[in-house]
Symmetry: none
Subunit: 237 residues, 2 copies
């Protein structure tokens, strides 16, 4: 008669309470010490239970911060040609962008090459997180040449939107000059942002946007969480 392990019963209890809505997605669970006290077991036993929930995708943990109820993990289809947001909206997801940083700095050699800049030229670098239903989907970094758009940071500050800020700067429309795709592994910080493990696969998409006159406007690089995202290309787009 195989007795059910305590950690399993704890895991069942917790996932039941989560399913009952006792803890909503994003909520913090009690600390391991509190749970250990509540169930009258060692912290390690609680950890075993929690790691089972992490494995199942029910919760996700952040060292030093706590364990949090995860959003429902699903696969997000993303079209290439269509705008990222509209695509997710169509799929019934709530798309969000979270700004991580917006700085002005010197351009790297690769950025100079792609944007056609001179050695001392500066760029605006915009980094952020793309989320769907509060689930991180991708990390992006956009780089804009600073010379043609000196007021971009201010305009971005005011409107909170890059597209709006670009419009203010006179760029009504732009098109994709090229896209390049490759696969990489998540670094520790990338994994942290995307709430995945270090070494998980990422789909990296690089692209250059140019205005109607062919002048480079934006050099973008996006890292998609490989196990959450599928990039779809269809002939119709």
């Amino acid at each position: 008669m195989p007795r059910t392990p305590i950690w399993k019963s704890i895991a069942d209890d917790l996932s039941g309470e989560i399913a009952d809505g006792l803890y909503l997605p994003g909520d913090k669970l009690p600390t391991e010490a509190q749970l250990a006290a509540r169930f009258g077991v060692n912290r390690h036993t609680v950890r075993h239970a929690l790691s089972a929930l992490v494995e199942a995708g029910t919760v996700h943990t952040r060292r030093g911060a706590g364990a949090f109820v995860a959003q429902t993990p699903t696969d997000y289809p993303i079209g290439k040609r269509v705008r990222f947001h509209q695509n997710l909206r169509a799929a019934g997801r709530m798309p969000t962008r979270q700004v991580l940083s917006f700085t002005t700095r010197l351009a790297s050699p690769e950025e100079r090459e792609a944007l056609g800049l001179k050695p001392d030229d500066q760029v605006h670098a915009y980094e952020g997180l793309s989320l769907a239903d509060a689930q991180p989907i991708a990390i992006f970094r956009s780089v804009f040449p600073a010379t043609p758009f000196p007021d971009l940071p201010a305009a971005f500050e005011a409107s909170g939107s890059v597209t709006a800020a670009l419009k203010d700067a006179g760029v009504a429309d732009y098109t994709r000059a090229w896209s390049r795709l490759t696969a990489t592994l998540a670094s520790a910080t990338q994994a942290l942002h995307l709430r995945i493990a270090e070494g998980d696969p990422l789909l990296r998409s690089d692209g250059l946007n140019v205005d109607t006159t062919g002048q480079p406007v934006e050099l973008g690089r996006t890292w998609f969480a490989g196990d959450r995202v599928t990039l779809t290309l269809s002939e119709e787009d």
Copy 2:
């Protein structure tokens, strides 16, 4: 879970950006608070990373003023990697291929779905390696419906080329109906074929080819070695 401490990963990121010339000697780095926001960590973690850079002599800090790139920055060696650029459109028609297997079997549910087959329908499965400069670039698996092409194996045996064999079967031309891209990790066997390490990143491309009448001809799946290959999307794709 994080094999690499986050502070170390941050330190690597920052020293890489300094090496890339984003910040020149004497330049001020973003404030600890800004970096903490960008990397999504606590300020203490950023401080840990910065103190490692100070230790290494890359930057120096002044209380109340900021962190500055040291005058004698240690430029670090850039590993020159040869990257193979591959157009997604042409991906199915690589010059040098190595046949791993050519079998006829029942279709899987996914294959039935994509090719529009009935439960008992059979398919020809063609697996192989794509090579460039005698180096394995990708693993591919193509699946053809057996009913329209009963003689494909024989024709392939004779000509050694799938395109030629298809032509014999009356398919003069075909086009790509859709492509789906995602990132995965290399399994042990995949790693062996591609001569990479298990757990290295792979770029997985799924695609369906249809003939001029819209009839499915080939369902393909290709795993590109992420370290070696960049997929380029032209505007027509």
